[in-house]
């Protein structure tokens, strides 16, 4: 390096790195003491100099001779103090102002929450979820973070989310009770073919959470921005509470067997036999009908022909089933109408021998002869509330009079009692009306509500006119029955017994013949006016034949069958059979629905139910609506979409976007008709053979063999980490709502 020879003065100032001030005069020299002061020197020309520089406060010993300047250290200190003071001041001001919530929130809320809280004051928005936001910071410090009785954040979440999450189990794992979880765990372990013991890796990753105190915030992290995913959870997080965890879906997830089949349903339908047998056999203009899945299972956006009975679905989702008119009527309506022609029989008078008929007042002559006829299930249901009638019915083999043994001692008595019970039934229905329906229904073992539809459609006047026609006498309003109230069990046991309530022979607390003396005779049966009844001025209809044309009226053609008079459905009187019968109006007939719902209240072993299921109309209904014959069952194919009671969730809509999956049969492959028919027979026989002990099998919407099993490989082909995704939350639901 070139060294320039420059004669430049050197600065003699002794400034130190920590000095805050430095001399402001651009001068040099050593200086010496003058005027007796150590800090004042002389530069040789007489000008005074400071030797040690300004003081720490920035004062020059020479007074106004020089203006000290801040050193870098001094400037740095000032800047540091200023910045720190400014920051602290800003923080304090913001903390105490209304800007605090918007400044201190750790991020924007997700869009659904932000929309809910958009209208509230900023200061209240934090408090909607954070309990501590409602308290002053000083109070929070002095009182602590809250006691065990304070409203936690989870409780605040439930303020809005309680419709979909049960409050009682909000903090329980899967929102299920401990007992429920244990039961499910046992069931899964018993059914599992794999070792369900935990491995060391599972134990290592096991959560430390109390599974009965899982707060919402553990999984759902807010303040991740408007597009943040509150549902984002890794597979390992999902499985941390499980004793066994799985790896990737394709390789580690256990396979399923019958899912999605075998989960129950309300309508019996065999896809395999319909596709392979019935549809090909049905020719329309010489062409076999096409078995098109979308005809019955359209997507809502496609179908414009959903009937009012069809289930609604979210837009684009596959409909569980369209209505009867769209799906079934074209093939089944005619047969159904034929089957339902003879729908429901209220009563039909049995044929009794003369010696028995004579014991019953007014028994028609046309109903006299050899034992014949059957006691209808409805009549049995309404009669069996009476103890003696019930006993008599038990003596009737299958409620069939023709099967009575004439030689048996109890035959005549039993037949008479049943016949009397039928007469009493009609009498009471004609005179008492609907209350009598309700009373007899309760005594028969069903709820009165289910009989309302029947009683509404069958007027007492109609019954009265039939009664008059059969028994040639009007029905009488009988006093309250002497027979005690009974609760009838399925096997017709008298739960209350005879000792307490007495019997028709007297004794007991209620049924005492002597009571009749207190009540006296029926005043309406007496001639109140005395002197016999005057002639009925309306006995002759003056308009019946004003011109005397009746005698000359030509004979009519063959009389129309009574059932044809109500071809669209209704009650009718069959004079030939001495029966009051209901003809069904076809599919979804309200009376038949009410009748089946009444039967659903009875156990399968009830004789009324067993015999009722043999009637053609009921059998026709039950062949498809087997589920309606059980309590809790239904008539319609309810959609499973959105059900929160299942751990697995599935939507067709996203899958239909894939062209290859647009064909339903890509996943839902039909089984062979032979295997499906065998299962179909088993299911069909259940309707008439209630001896089946498998409640689960009774509930199958279609036979287990209807479709081929849907294996995991069908899903795993697309649900890969790099494709459709294989996260747990893709197909599984955490929040279970059993309400």
């Amino acid at each position: 390096m070139r060294r320039d020879k420059l004669d430049l003065p050197k600065n003699a100032k002794r400034d130190r790195p920590k000095d805050l001030w430095i001399c402001g005069r651009t001068c040099g020299g050593n200086g010496g003491g003058t005027d007796g002061r150590d800090d004042v020197g002389d530069d040789g020309s007489g000008a005074k100099l400071c030797i040690h520089g300004p003081s720490r406060r920035g004062r020059c010993p020479l007074g106004d001779a020089c203006r000290p300047k801040l050193t870098w250290a001094g400037k740095k200190r000032r800047v540091a103090y200023t910045v720190i003071a400014l920051s602290t001041f800003t923080l304090l001001v913001v903390t105490r102002s209304s800007l605090a919530p918007s400044v201190f929130k750790p991020g924007e809320l997700t869009r659904p929450h932000a929309q809910i809280l958009a209208g509230k004051l900023t200061s209240q928005r934090c408090g909607a979820c954070h309990e501590t936001a409602a308290t002053d910071p000083l109070t929070w410090i002095t009182q602590g973070s809250g006691d065990v009785h304070s409203i936690g954040q989870t409780d605040r979440c439930m303020t809005c989310h309680h419709p979909t999450i049960d409050r009682e189990f909000a903090t329980h794992a899967h929102n299920l009770s401990v007992a429920d979880r244990r039961q499910r765990t046992r069931r899964i372990r018993n059914a599992s073919l794999r070792d369900t013991r935990s491995s060391w890796t599972d134990q290592l990753s096991a959560t430390s959470l109390d599974q009965n105190s899982v707060q919402c915030g553990v999984c759902h992290r807010e303040h991740q921005g408007p597009d943040g995913d509150l549902l984002s959870l890794s597979d390992s997080q999902c499985q941390t509470c499980h004793s066994r965890s799985f790896g990737r879906f394709a390789t580690s997830h256990p396979d399923w067997n019958n899912w999605p089949y075998g989960r129950g349903g309300h309508i019996s339908f065999n896809h395999a036999t319909h596709a392979a047998k019935h549809f090909p056999a049905t020719l329309v203009d010489g062409v076999a009908s096409e078995f098109n899945c979308q005809h019955c299972h359209p997507t809502q956006s496609v179908s414009g022909t959903l009937s009012v009975l069809a289930n609604s679905s979210p837009s684009g989702e596959v409909v569980r089933s369209v209505g009867y008119e769209a799906a079934c009527a074209s093939c089944h309506d005619e047969a159904l109408n034929v089957q339902s022609k003879f729908g429901l029989e209220l009563v039909s008078l049995p044929i009794l021998p003369a010696e028995v008929a004579n014991t019953i007042d007014g028994w028609p002559e046309s109903a006299t002869g050899f034992f014949d006829g059957k006691l209808s299930p409805l009549a049995e249901l309404l009669i069996r509330g009476d103890a003696t009638s019930a006993q008599a019915i038990r003596n009737l083999p299958e409620a069939d009079f023709s099967r009575l043994s004439p030689q048996a001692i109890t035959t005549q008595e039993s037949a008479a009692l049943v016949a009397d019970g039928i007469q009493s039934l009609l009498n009471d229905l004609a005179t008492q009306g609907q209350p009598e329906w309700s009373r007899r229904a309760r005594e028969g073992g069903v709820s009165a509500t289910s009989m309302l539809v029947l009683s509404r459609t069958l007027s007492p006047q109609f019954i009265e006119s039939i009664y008059r026609g059969w028994f040639s006498q009007p029905p009488v309003n009988r006093p309250e029955s002497d027979n005690p109230v009974r609760q009838v069990a399925a096997n017709d046991d008298d739960l209350l017994g005879d000792e307490l309530l007495g019997n028709s022979a007297g004794g007991g607390l209620l049924g005492h013949a002597a009571d009749d003396e207190l009540l006296g005779s029926d005043p309406l049966q007496q001639d109140l006016l005395g002197g016999g009844q005057p002639a009925d001025p309306l006995a002759i209809d003056p308009l019946s034949d004003p011109l005397g044309m009746d005698a000359a009226e030509p004979k009519r053609d063959e009389p129309i069958a009574p059932s044809e008079l109500v071809a669209s459905g209704g009650w009718y009187h069959d004079p030939l059979r001495k029966a009051i019968t209901y003809r069904s109006g076809g599919h979804a007939d309200s009376v038949m629905i009410a009748w089946l719902e009444t039967l659903a209240q009875l156990p399968d072993s009830d004789p009324v139910k067993r015999r009722a299921l043999k009637t053609p109309a009921v059998a026709a209904c039950a062949s498809c609506h087997a589920g309606a014959l059980q309590l809790g069952g239904g008539w319609k194919a309810e959609t499973r979409f959105g059900l929160r009671s299942e751990f697995t969730k599935f939507r067709h809509r996203p899958h239909l976007n894939v062209s290859s999956l647009g064909d339903c049969r890509h996943c839902h492959q039909l089984a062979s008709p032979e295997s499906a028919e065998y299962s179909d027979q088993q299911i069909g026989s259940l309707a008439v053979s209630p001896a089946s002990t498998s409640a689960a099998s009774r509930w199958h919407s279609h036979p287990v063999g209807d479709f081929l099993p849907l294996g995991k490989e069908s899903c795993a082909a697309c649900h890969l980490p790099t494709a459709a995704g294989d996260n747990c939350v893709t197909c599984h639901r955490y929040h279970i709502d059993l309400r």
């Binding site: 004669d7 430049l8 400044v103 750790p106 096991a206 430390s208």
Partner: protein, 272 residues
């Protein structure tokens, strides 16, 4: 520690730091997997490390206590800083957090971290560059030296009085006087280079053809003054850079610590 070679020491420290970062990452992942609160774990770690990092400032100001050498403290400060930055990225994977306050906090942390890494670079390169230039100047006296050089240049040109000296005087008035009497430009302070030095010296050299011997001698002196002034400016630029870095790093680290404490209090308060 001085017995261990520098490279070995650096390797050991980096390995240990990497190991600790890995362990912390695994713990955080494990906590996350178990539905724990890894944010509290990583956040608490960052806060504790910030406190430890701040302590070096105290150590430098309390030399009397037997707390170890500043060199050792500096090494600890350096590797703890690297560790803290890694844990911060676990705490805030998005690097800059959402929300006004937390965004500012993130930016503060990044400012302090980046300045720290810059300081690591500067402390390794600046000394060599400073010692490569002739002269040792106290930063606070640079202004005085600058004024001395300007006075010397003025007196040099005033002493030279000749018809041919008008060329030099004109050149001095046009180019050298502004050079000597003004502070270096911001561009030069940010990126000091020899551009203006070479330009001025070249222009002076160009004047030789117009000067006599006396004039050339004066030109030579002026050239020497130009070189001295350029060296002074270079020292000023580098020293300013070092000092500014220290101010930024030191002052904002204090602000960062305070804001971190506020953030911790808020997190604990609103966690439940």
């Amino acid at each position: 520690m001085n017995s261990i070679p520098f490279r070995m020491r650096r390797m050991l420290a980096l390995t240990f730091t990497t190991l600790m970062v890995t362990i912390w990452f695994l713990i955080a992942q494990w906590e996350s997997m178990r539905l724990g609160a890894p944010a509290f774990f990583t956040g608490g770690t960052v806060l504790a490390c910030l406190c430890l990092l701040i302590l070096i400032g105290l150590r430098r100001r309390i030399p009397v206590l037997p707390l170890g050498t500043v060199s050792t403290w500096t090494q600890v400060h350096l590797y703890v800083g690297i560790f803290t930055t890694a844990v911060y990225l676990m705490h805030v994977p998005a690097v800059v957090a959402g929300g006004v306050f937390e965004c500012c906090l993130s930016l503060l942390f990044l400012l302090v971290s980046v300045s720290g890494f810059y300081g690591l670079y500067a402390s390794r390169t600046m000394p060599k560059r400073l010692t490569a230039v002739e002269g040792q100047y106290s930063f606070d006296q640079i202004g005085w030296h600058r004024s001395q050089l300007a006075n010397a240049a003025v007196s040099t040109i005033e002493k030279h009085q000749s018809p041919a000296g008008e060329v030099l005087a004109l050149f001095f008035k046009t180019y050298l006087k502004p050079f000597f009497q003004t502070r270096p430009s911001l561009a030069y302070v940010i990126v000091p280079s020899g551009l203006r030095r070479r330009r001025l010296l070249g222009d002076l050299k160009e004047l030789d053809r117009y000067l006599e011997d006396d004039g050339r001698r004066v030109a030579g002196q002026l050239a020497a003054l130009v070189r001295r002034r350029d060296d002074l400016d270079y020292q000023f630029a580098l020293q300013l850079r070092l000092r500014l870095w220290l101010v930024i790093h030191g002052v904002f680290s204090v602000v960062l610590l305070g804001a971190s404490v506020v953030h911790a209090v808020l997190a604990i308060r609103f966690a439940h």
